[in-house]
Structure formats: structure tokens, C-alpha cells
Symmetry: C2
Subunit: 641 residues, 2 copies
């Protein structure tokens, strides 16, 4: 078939495609990072492009008006190439695929945004932080072997094992052929002075590699938190247990949909699973490359990789078909993932390096939650604590050393800026803090990076709604009151409140919060609050019994606790109850790579955690309905009357 | 470089080679099976070819006379291609690469050749034959899983494991990614009725494969004895423990040398290791293919392969560099071989099938000997027994349930027909039984397959020397007496005795035994006898303490015990002491594949066996020197005076 040419600007990238392919698929081929939150189904309306030259075929979609199309605006995923084209991808239709700044990473990991200094960090709440013993999952051992004689003529491999046993309390039980094929020559040319890399696969000791000379000081590990939105990685020196660097980047899978459901649907398309797999591995390899370059280490010296991620992300990383995660009764192919080699997943480190994926509990409570429990030490505490991890979805764990129960709250991606009119992820230009003057309703806001406002992120919505409630702009149901103020505008779909007007402080378009947006956030916060309350009821406890609430996740880090209590997302407990733990998934993965004991503990945690399927949990729906108010129908719970 | 054409007849195969390549290397490329006992070093003189047309360049070699070269006869390994050639490969220069006949296999395995019916078989000596419990190394389990519900929503893999645990006393601890990537779809399309293949790797249970429906009755294993000369294979039904078929073929490595030393030297040449590896795997795959076709089974249903072989053969099979096996202090890279996948060695069965190699003890006491000990139950007997395995070399084990000691006798390949003037392997046309009339010295002989005599195999030499001794043709030192008889001829290198003259019964050339041949056999038998005696001395025992002597190996099967005692190869014990165990290496491999317990026992045997390096064993040289007579310097040992 004849090929047509599509040129993308301002990228200035040109690609050849067949007639009738969509502009979105052409953008994918060209490597132009188009926002496709819904996975290319024409639903989210985020992939608007301007067709400057050429003929296109456009499918009917309610997301675009005839007026837009007359201006040359089309949804890239619903528009086909009919001739050579020139297509402009505007900034708002673009995925910000740049790697996050070091400062941004720091904020995300440390868990402090703005004025929340009086909320404790995980470090400050030290007593709950577990200290693990046992050595790293891979070790390099420098060995000086006695050369063989006629009297001592055991095989080379046994000689190596004997020396390992003399130095350590273990003996390898397994070795790959690759590790021993050239062992004879290697031992002799190294004059019997070698370094053995040993891996520990849940109690099974494996000889991974043998190198000449003493390389014991060059043993590195990578840990990853694979989020639906963000992939974070850390390089760890496995000998000294020091963290050498941290990086985060957007998960390149975002081009195929913003949440796990759209990704699973995309995985069912032809080559879909492969593309999703490649996308996440590219994100990981980019981080790996940067961390290695930054620290001048050889990737061959990376001998272990530990990943924590939600169940879908881990399936996609390992190229395991995720189809049944989204079909009732929501079953994963595997929650406990066998130890594999990193290269089997496409991760570019030592080809013999081990890959551990932290075990999950259920389709919507993955290894990232297990890692969080491990990092916070929920499983070792005498007191009952709660872990709330709010990412693209929300997971809740309640427990102590006796029991652990968990649930997934179907909060949806509203807190990640999806499904809300001016929503965006917490990246540069996102409004993250809002205060409203109670008299004139003047708005003051802060954006990430102090850049011109581009949209509102999750913490911004919570702050904004809390402020609107406080100054009487909003009723308990979330409707905007009919007050005569230029910031309050009536639209066909109800009222909206203008946070920033176009032209103000470099802002390109009006940034508003609509009643529909408020309703979305209300449903999200209700889902999480109801999940917490239902889990407590499940074990016949109530909030006074709770010692601490750990707040984890990229979102959690920028959250204002007072605002969250005001809108009823979090219970009205004393401030010292709340502990920001930042990316506890990454912390748990780091604990794991540095300690066999932690690795075994993570396995025990996943086995021990009881999963509550909220959709069949008695009373959950009632709790959810009751939480669909600001802060709640039972306002006594929030210290009000 | 311009290519030249070499045509081989009678094969009628043509190949293009570069100028200056040897005819032997051209034959290898053409797939013409040339005998190259010395590995192409011009030493053995076995690769004579007739150059019918074209120009060659010949290196000087003492193996060829000028007269031969005038006739157009050359050593293929020492002669280079200088123009297009036509080369005839005569029958005697050809490796008989045809697969052995079923009858021949039967003889080799059952261990009965000719008149030895009064010597016990392993079956007859049943009390020593161990019965192993425990199931096969791979099992197929038919499972009917309860479909998941919202109340029972564990992952697919855990569901599978739970059902395995319900049916068996184990739970898999490991699974490869390949086995689980498509598990979700497979379980559902099979309506939750599947067959799991489970492998047992020394106590570690692995999920190897999952298939739809009930395939539990189709689970097969292959066991191999990888000899330097012969590769034998057996197809086993792992469910019923029945042997479905047995095949043997020459080890294709024979093209690169007849013994392990020449093969190890060949392995050091460029691509040498790879070629040797390919050759043995081709031999194994040919057997595999034939056995599968004969029994109409799908190779994908072969889930386990167990190999027994000498240390060098196992190294070459796994492409492990064998260099240091032949350099003092004779150290193998590995005696205990990790469990691998059959496909890693190139064996064409189910890609997830496990490959076990029986553990060896030392460089010259390999897994074939361990298998023999296992098969004969030396390690469980109250009485002290001896196992003598005579193949291309000789290995001896002495022991009982308390102890096991072993040694390798450097007997050389004389018993396999190498290094003796008319020697050949025990294949069609080999003289295997000889009687000599004590008056006229008339000779009666039997050949394998009753074919015209082509040469003499090991048992033929032993019979012949025994007969010559009995009728006074030979002195105790092995010199042929100066008797006036047309069968006795003087040559420049001493006397020779004519067993068969050219023209007689279709015989193409004189078949003789020379004094040099007798000397060769004498040194070989002395090495084995001295090894046995030295091992007994090592543990302060003597022959009367021995209950049984097990005779194993392709050679052992055709041995006449009386003749072997007459020449002093075996001690003069009662006939019922001797038990022919045929290919005990293959039997031990079959025991192993059928029983985890046997597999663990083989590992224990290899750990328990004490290796005696005879070259440094006090008294060994004296024993060897004393045995360099027929039957021995101390003839009282053989009931004579």
C-alpha cells in the first residue's frame, strides 16, 4: 500500500504511515508524546491536534465541536490520515515525558510540600521503622582458592563452593551453565583469585557469576517503584547499603492510557501487550542509564533488581497477559512472582542479574502496597496503624503484628488529575495550594515550580474545595452557591469557580473548578474514606484505636492534612497521628534488596494480608453513600454539629 | 579466495573448500564419516584415502610409504587440496556411523555374547539390585480447578499451586516466566481443566509447563549413556515406568578422535569445542528422533532428560571447556552439574524439559560410574563388591554400604580396537571369539553378525591370546614362540600370528595379531588388574572378601570370563562371582529418571566415593609391573605354579 507522510510540529518529526491509520498511531511511530489518557478510544478528548495541511477522515465524536473541526482541530485517535499531512501538537495535548527534576524527585520522596512541616516524616516516626538484618539479595565474595594438586583434585566448581562455605554460612545449591562454561580458564588466568557473585532466591543460593580478581566493592542494585503514572528508580551500593542516586520519569505507558483499566484494554489489542511492556522497560532503562552514568558505574556490576508495582504494572513488565485483572472476579495471573533474570524482562544490566518483584495480594492490591507495609513496619507494630496509598487508585491497609487487612478503593484517577476539567498530574505549572479570601473571594495559589498555572493537581483540588467550604462558597453536597461574584459563573452544566483567568500571570486559558469536578473529587474521597471505615468495621475497631495513619504515594506528599480533613478524605484525628511516608513502595523495595530477611518478610506480609473485596463487603456501599457529603453526613465524626 | 571442488566416492558427495585445506576437513564438511582416531594429527594412520584425480600437497608422515603415495594413497588429515579432486574413501577408513541394529543393541544391553550363559546377569543377581521409591523427576498432574469467585479470588498461579498441594505432598516453589505468561488465557479456555508438568530439582519443586485438558498419560523421559565411542538412549514412559525403546549409535565425535584425550585436544582448536558439542548432540537427537517416531510420541511430551557419561563427555555435551581434565592435576570444571534445561544443551525435546547429568567423582571417574554403582546397588550392599567398567578406558569401584573407593585405570583404548594393528570396535565383521586347535594350530573364529572378518575387537583379542597361551603358542611374557607353522610369520618388528588370511571366507586382507598388539593388550589388562588390586590394598582387603564382581560396559558384554582369567585381566575367582551388568550406566540413568530417591542417592554416591589417583598411590606401579605377564608374575594367584 502507498505510504503517506505525516509531519509533526513543533517536533519537526516526519513519519510514513499507511492510509487510514490514525494520527495518534502516526504520532506513536514518530515518537511524539501525545496525551492519550483513555488509550485511544476517543473518550478523554486529550489528544487534540491541529491539522495544518492535508486531508483527514474524522470519526464523529462528542468531544469535538463542528466549530473546532472547522478550525482544523481534531482528536488524533479518531482521525485518519488521507493524504500527506502537517500536524501541530499543542502543549496541552502533549505528555510531559521529560524526566523529573532532582528537586521534584526530592519533594516526591521526602514527602514535604509547602507548609506541612508539622506533620511527621517517616524518619521522625522512627520507632515504627523496622531495621532489617541479613545481607543483600546478591553478594560479591572475593575468594583466594588453593590451587588443585593431585591430592586435592576436586573440580573447579566444588573448589569454589568449598571456599564460599569457608567464608560464609552457606554453600551455593545452583549455578547456571553460563556461569561455569569458562570457569576453568577463568580461575587459572586469574591465578585462583576471583570474585563470586551469589544470589539468594528465597532461601536457594545460586552462583550467578565469577569474575577475575577482587571486584567485591563493585556490587550494585536497582530498585524501582513502577507506578501507573511515574516510574521511580534508585541505585544502591549493595556492599555499603548506601543510596547512590534517585531518578523518576513518567511511565511511557501513559501514551496508551492513563489508568490500569485502559492499559489492560490496550494490552488486548494486537501487539498491545508487547508495546506496553516495551514502554515501561524503556522508562526503567532510561533511569538505569542515567543513574549509572551519574555514578560512573558499569551496568555489568548491577547484579540485582527489585521492583514494586501494582499488579497490572508487574504483569506488563513481565509480559504476562493482564486481561483477567479487569474482568470479574478480578483475578491476577500471579501475585507471587517467581524470581527471574532482569534480562528476561528487558532490563539492561548484568545478564545474570536477578529480578525480584515484590508479591502482591490481589488484583488491585499489588507489591507496591506490600512494600509500603514493609517500609512502615505495620506488620511488626504492637499498635494498630493504617497505611493509605493514594496514587492513580487508592489502597488501604490496617493492621499490626497480629493481623493485616487491606482493600482497594475505586477512587479513580481524579486525584491524579484525570476526569476533571482542568486536572493535571502534579508536574510543572500545576496549582497545588489554594487559599481563598472569605470576603472578596480573592484567590491565591501556588504552582509547582512557580510556573504559570497550567491546571490543577490532586492536592490543589483538595485545598480549593476545602477553602471554598470554609468561606461558604460551597454547600455540603458540593454545589457552588449562587453568589454574585465574577469568579462564579453559570454554565449549561451548573456553576463553575474561576481559580485563574486567562492572561493572569502568564496563564493561557481560564482555570476553573466545576460542580462536576467537585462531584468527581467527592466520589474519590468518599471511596477512600469509606474503604478505611469499612476495613476498621471489618475488624471491629474504630479510629480512637489507631496509633498512626501513614500517608504514602506521589499524591500523599503534597497533601495538606487540614484540607484533607475539611473535605472528609481523612478522619479528624490529631495532627501527630499522620505520618507522610513519601514513596513507601520504593523504600520497601530498597529494604528488600538490602536484606534477605526483609525479602522473606515481604513474602510473609503478602501471605498474611487478608484482602477485602469492598464490592461484596457488607456495609461498604452505605459507608460510601454516607461519605458523599462534605465532610460527611455524620458531621459529628469531624468534630462538628 | 577461489574455491576448489572435492568429490568423495563412493558417497558421491561434493563439497567446495579453500585451497590448502586438508582432505579430512573437506570430508568433515561433506559429511563423509572418515576414521580419525588420533583427531587429525597424522599419528594413527586410519584415514587413508585414494586420490583418483587432481593435485594434492602431502605432509611427510611415517605412516605412509612412498610406494603407497605412488598408488595415490594419502592420509586425509595430512594431505591438502591443491586442485579440484576426486577422492575415494575405502571401507577400512570409514567410520561405521550407521546406527546399531536392534539385535546388536540387545546384545550390548543384555550383556550376553556367545557361550557365557553360565555367568549371571544383573537380573539373576536380583538381591543386589535396588528398588527405588519416590516418583519420576518430572510428573504430569491432571487438575480440575474451582473457577475463581469474588470470595475466592487468589491469583491463577496460586490457584494452580493450591490444587497441586491438594493432590500431592508438595507445592511448587518456582516457575519460569514462560510457564505463566499465558496462564490466564490457558486456564479459562481449558475451562479450568489442565495438566501441570512439575519437575523436581534436588528437592526444589518447579512448575515447568501447563497444558489444556488431561495429558497426564503423555509424559516421557529420555535417558542417555554418552560413551566416548557409543551413545545409547532409552525412551521411558514416566507415568508407567515402562521402557518404550532403546537405540544406540556411534558418537559422532569419533570423527575428531577416538579417545577423550584427543577430543580434549581437539576442543582447544578454533571452533573445536563447538564442533564436538554439536557432534554429540546430533547423535543424541538422532536417537531421540528415532525413538519418538518408532513410538509415535510428540517430542514436546518429553519433559526430562537424564545423561550419564564420563566427565569429558558431559563437559562437551554442556559446552564446558574440558582443557584442564587432561593437564595435571587433572581437574574437571564441574563434577556436580547443576540441573539445566535440555534445550540449553541443544537436545530437541520440550523447551522447558529438565536436563540432569549424573554427578561424577573425578576427571576420569564420571557420572557413568556413579550410575553403575547406583544400578548395581554397591552402595546398599552389606557385602563388599567390585564394579569394573571397561570402555575406552577402565574404571573400578570397590565398596559396600559403608564405603566406596574408586580409581581410573589408564588401560587405553586397546580393548576398543584402537592402537592394535587389526583392531576394531565390536561391530559387524569383528572377530569376537577365537579357538585354536592345540595340535595343528587351526583357528576357528566367530564374527559379529557372522559377516566376513574385518578385524578383531577387544573380546576377540582376549580370546585369541588366551587360546594362544593355552596351546603353547605364546610365552608368559607375550612373545610368539618360533614354531614352524604357516600361521606364524616373522616380520621386521617380531612375529605375528595369522587369524584369517585374505581371501578366506570373504576376508579382504590378512587379519593378524602381532607381538606389539599382544604387548598393548598386556599393558591394558595389567592396568585394570593392578587398579583392582591397588584399590583392595588401599582398604586392606583381598579377593576372598569379595562377594561379586560386576562387569559393565559395551566391552564387558562380549567378554569370555574364562579367557579373561587366563590372560590375567580378571582374578581367578569362582564363575558365580562374576555378574554381567551390561550398560549399567544406562540402567542407572533410568533408575534416576524414574525416582527422585534414586536421583538423591546418585548424588550421595558421588559425594561418598573416595577417588584414588593411582599415579600417586603407593604400590600401584609395582602392581602394574607385576601384572605385565600372562597371567601374572605371581602365578599362584591364578591357581597355577
Amino acid at each position: 500500500m502507498a505510504k503517506l507522510t505525516v509531519k509533526f510540529i513543533p517536533d519537526n518529526k516526519t513519519v510514513e504511515v499507511e492510509k487510514d491509520r490514525t494520527i495518534a498511531s502516526a504520532a506513536l511511530s514518530a515518537g511524539v508524546p501525545l496525551n492519550a489518557a483513555c488509550g485511544g478510544d476517543g473518550v478523554c478528548g486529550r489528544c487534540r491536534v491541529l491539522v495544518r495541511k492535508g486531508q483527514v477522515g474524522a470519526l464523529a465524536t462528542g468531544r469535538m465541536s463542528l466549530a473546532d473541526m472547522r478550525k482544523g482541530l481534531y482528536l488524533a485517535c479518531q482521525t485518519t490520515v488521507q493524504s500527506d499531512l502537517e500536524v501541530e501538537v499543542p502543549a496541552e495535548s502533549r505528555l510531559d515525558m521529560d524526566r523529573l527534576s532532582a528537586e521534584e524527585i526530592d519533594r516526591r520522596l521526602k514527602g514535604f510540600y509547602g507548609p506541612s512541616e508539622d506533620v511527621q516524616s517517616l524518619e521522625a516516626a522512627a520507632p515504627v521503622k523496622p531495621a532489617f538484618t541479613g545481607s543483600a539479595l546478591t553478594e560479591k565474595l572475593y575468594l583466594e582458592l588453593p590451587p588443585p594438586t593431585l591430592q586435592d583434585c576436586i573440580s573447579d566448581l566444588e573448589r569454589l563452593y568449598r571456599q564460599i562455605q569457608a567464608q560464609k554460612d552457606y554453600i551455593p545449591e545452583h549455578a547456571g551453565l553460563a556461569a561455569i562454561r569458562l570457569l576453568g580458564e577463568l580461575l587459572r588466568s586469574a591465578q585462583w583469585k576471583v570474585t563470586a557473585t551469589v544470589g539468594k532466591r528465597y532461601g536457594i543460593i545460586e552462583l550467578l557469576d565469577v569474575e577475575p580478581g577482587d571486584t567485591a566493592s563493585r556490587n550494585f542494585g536497582l530498585v524501582f517503584d513502577i507506578g501507573t503514572t511515574t516510574v521511580s528508580g534508585q541505585l544502591v551500593d549493595l556492599q555499603s547499603a548506601r543510596v547512590l542516586g534517585t531518578r523518576a520519569t513518567y511511565n511511557k505507558q501513559a501514551s496508551f492510557g492513563s489508568d490500569v483499566i485502559t492499559r489492560i484494554m490496550y494490552a488486548q489489542k494486537e501487539e498491545g501487550l508487547e508495546k506496553l511492556h516495551q514502554a515501561v522497560v524503556e522508562s526503567m532503562n532510561a533511569i538505569t542509564h542515567d543513574l549509572a552514568a551519574e555514578n560512573s558505574i558499569d551496568l555489568n556490576d548491577v547484579t540485582c533488581v527489585v521492583c514494586a508495582g501494582n499488579t497490572t504494572m508487574i504483569h506488563l513488565l513481565l509480559r504476562i497477559d493482564p486481561t483477567y485483572i479487569r474482568r470479574e472476579p478480578y483475578v491476577a495471573t500471579a501475585n507471587f512472582i517467581p524470581v527471574a533474570r532482569a534480562h528476561e524482562a528487558g532490563i539492561l544490566v548484568n545478564p545474570r542479574a536477578l529480578l525480584f518483584c515484590l508479591p502482591g495480594v490481589a488484583s488491585y492490591v499489588g507489591g507496591d502496597v506490600t512494600a509500603g507495609v514493609l517500609a512502615c513496619g505495620l506488620d511488626t507494630a504492637d499498635d494498630v496503624n493504617i497505611l493509605i496509598d493514594i496514587g492513580t487508585n487508592g489502597e488501604v491497609v490496617v493492621g499490626n503484628k497480629e493481623f493485616l487487612v487491606c482493600a482497594a478503593a475505586s477512587a479513580g484517577p481524579a486525584f491524579e488529575g484525570s476526569g476533571v476539567s482542568c486536572g493535571m498530574r502534579s508536574s510543572i505549572g500545576a496549582i497545588q495550594k489554594v487559599t481563598i479570601d472569605p470576603k472578596a473571594f480573592a484567590v491565591r495559589y501556588e504552582t509547582i515550580g512557580s510556573a504559570p498555572a497550567r491546571g490543577i493537581c490532586g492536592s490543589g483540588y483538595i485545598d480549593c474545595i476545602a477553602a471554598m467550604l470554609t468561606c461558604g462558597l460551597l454547600d455540603k453536597d458540593g454545589k457552588i452557591k449562587a453568589i454574585d461574584n465574577p469568579r462564579i459563573r453559570a454554565t449549561g452544566a451548573g456553576r463553575e469557580f474561576v481559580l485563574a483567568a486567562a492572561g493572569e500571570n502568564g496563564c493561557q486559558a481560564d482555570i476553573v473548578i466545576t460542580e462536576a469536578d467537585i462531584d468527581n473529587i467527592k466520589r474519590a474521597k468518599a471511596a477512600i474514606y469509606a474503604a478505611v471505615v469499612s476495613l476498621l468495621k471489618h475488624i471491629s475497631l474504630d479510629f480512637p484505636a489507631i496509633k498512626r495513619i501513614f500517608i504514602a504515594g506521589g499524591f500523599g506528599t503534597s497533601l495538606d492534612i487540614a484540607s484533607a480533613i475539611t473535605i472528609g478524605l481523612l478522619p479528624a484525628l490529631k495532627k501527630e497521628t499522620f505520618v507522610f511516608v513519601g514513596n513507601s513502595s520504593l523504600t520497601g523495595a530498597r529494604n528488600t534488596i538490602l536484606s534477605e530477611e526483609a525479602c522473606a518478610t515481604a513474602d510473609e506480609i503478602a501471605h498474611k494480608m487478608t484482602y477485602c473485596e469492598l464490592s461484596v463487603e457488607p456495609g461498604y456501599m452505605e459507608e460510601y453513600m454516607a461519605a458523599l457529603f462534605f465532610p460527611h453526613t455524620d458531621i459529628a465524626r469531624f468534630g462538628k454539629k
